[in-house]
Amino acid sequence: MSYFSLLTINGLVIGLIFALTAAGLTLIFSVLRVVNFSHGALYMMGGYASYYAIRYLGLPPIGGVVAAMIALFFFGILFEILIMRPVYTDEVERKDEYAIIVTFGLTILLSNLAIVVFGPFSKSPPPFLDGTLILGPVILPYDRLIAAVVAVVLLGVTTWFLARTTLGQALDAVSQSRESAAVIGINPRRMYTIAFGLGSALAGGAGALIAPIFALSPSMGDLPVVQAFIIIVIGGMGSVGGSIVGGILLGLAQSWGVGYLPDPNRALAYTQAFGAILLIITLLFRPTGLFGRIHLRLE
């Protein structure tokens, strides 16, 4: 039983950070209707931004997360303005394909630039708080606990922002119908830019949160991005709530899967495969996901 609760707590913590990564991806998808294939690279950039902010600006580790989110917000905005424009002008015919190629190109660029600039070896940022919480059967390093709490706060703020503020509701309106939103005076272009910036900031925040738990490396975003894809498809493309549920589900499934499968080597090798198989099955039978909003189904 104690082993089970240990696995569950760990799965929950990791799942919440997955959810944060996926929430950014789903925000971008719901407003711009494109899948951001560079999300993992942005996540990695967030980790490094936090590391250098802590190191050279003398910020506390939590301040590093905030700095990473601000830096990635502006990077996202810049990229959107410079490169994503053709997605909503008439410049290109197949917008999906255009978006996949430019965001995938950004991944190649950033992940290799990271190897050149930061070096291929992994770095470890300082922990948020040393020590481990021991509460009966539950053993949890404070690092993970704090990361989970910050993730919950960020997810809460995102949900609140989208539901309760004017700007959030404008984003939601654009995600439901560009034309109708434009009719009531919302500038869709500005919303696209803001959504891409916010989504990038969430990716960066997630990367900064995970950095002290695992190490920083140029390829740290490769796995989380596939998991984020899986989560947004399971949870329903474009639903932030769905991505939270999907993230926690995937975190738990992976934690239990690795913990209980016999032959640990093979279990570890196939951990990611379970998620991918889940993605394949979901796409085949319910492309809109569990909480998919019907207006976001692609034609």
Binding site: N112, V116, L279
Partner: protein, 332 residues
């Protein structure tokens, strides 16, 4: 506009292609062993880039699973040869290609309802699952260590491989070029432009979508088999995402709607990356940058700029821009 078949006479493009082929044929006469080896590998990439172009650029099926078919073909052929001996090579080759085509048909069938980013995600997931199986099932595939594969020809010279690869590339190009000039080619392009409308006009889009997956998977498998028996070692790394990125970059940089463009793109990307080998990862930074810039500013790739200078396709729908540009066929 994009769905007009082009009647080829002795166009400037055909002359360019003939000259390029002649140059390619003579490389072993003046290039050293190094360039022959580079060339033989280039043909592998060029076959993959061209067949991916047919799948993604012409039929609009943006797939990340293309290298998976190369790996499936290579592994099937290698395993048969390793277990039964070199005498079974012809069977091994046929088995590899057939396996890839069957799986290709299966995937084509599964993705009938998916498009755009969903298709990309689906093929990405399936490709990753296969890669994990290749890594995890060490008793069969030797995992990340890789299979030692017997080479096609005896001796150390790469010249036979160079000509074999070139021959396979030309054969693949002729086959795909022919396909694109038939009605099937028109239907594929029509599916890319508007699948619903194509179906409404009475075209069995299901059939053609599966067909294009089968054909391109088979060609990718041929490339994979050639690679396996040329390099002599087969690891799951041949299908990692960055490798797929290279294939996509070749196709996009050359021109995603042109088969010769894909070959030119493959040559540009691969030869440049060889020349810049000393710069390490910086090459891939440039590759990513080139991918973004070409896609942003020269939608039809660099080859179209060379082929029809000043008349690169503006990328707009024709009705959105009446007047200034005369309607031309860009179907090549």
């Amino acid at each position: 506009m994009t769905v007009t078949a082009r009647h080829q006479g002795l166009s400037p493009s055909a002359i360019t292609q003939a000259i390029l082929l002649l140059v390619a044929l003579t490389v072993p006469l003046w290039g050293g062993a190094y360039w022959i080896h580079v060339g033989a590998l280039l043909w592998y990439y060029a076959i993959l880039a061209a067949s991916w172009t047919l799948l993604a650029g012409f039929a609009g099926q943006f797939s990340f699973a293309h290298l998976m078919f190369a790996a499936l073909g290579g592994y099937a052929s290698a395993l048969i040869v390793l277990h039964l001996g070199m005498a079974w090579l012809p069977l091994a080759i046929v088995a590899g290609v057939v396996l890839a085509m069957v799986i290709g048909a299966l995937i084509g069938f599964m993705v009938l309802r998916l498009s755009g980013p969903y298709l990309a995600l689906f093929t990405l997931a399936i490709s990753e699952v296969v890669r994990m199986i290749l890594i995890a099932e060490e008793s069969v595939t030797r995992g990340s260590l890789g299979l030692q594969v017997p080479r096609f020809f005896k001796g150390d010279s790469d010249i036979p491989y160079y000509y074999l690869g070139l021959g396979l590339l030309v054969a693949a190009l002729v086959l795909m070029g022919y396909l694109l000039r038939t009605r099937t080619g028109l239907f594929l392009r029509a599916i890319r432009e508007d699948e619903g409308a194509t179906q409404a006009s009475g075209v069995n889009t299901t059939r053609y979508k599966i067909l294009v997956f089968v054909i391109t998977s088979g060609i990718a498998a041929v490339a994979g088999i050639y690679y396996a028996h040329f390099i002599g070692i087969l690891t799951p790394n041949m299908m990692i995402l960055p490798e797929m990125g290279i294939i996509i970059a070749m196709s996009v940089i050359g021109g995603i709607e042109s088969l010769p463009g894909a070959v030119v793109g493959a040559a540009i990307v691969y030869l440049l990356s060889e020349l810049l080998r000393d710069y390490g990862e910086m090459r891939f930074v440039l590759l990513g940058l080139a991918l973004i810039l070409v896609q942003r500013f020269a939608r039809n790739g660099l080859f179209s700029l060379v082929e029809r200078p000043g008349k690169s396709r503006p990328g707009k729908r024709p009705q959105a821009q009446p007047g200034p540009t005369p309607e031309k066929s860009h179907a090549n």
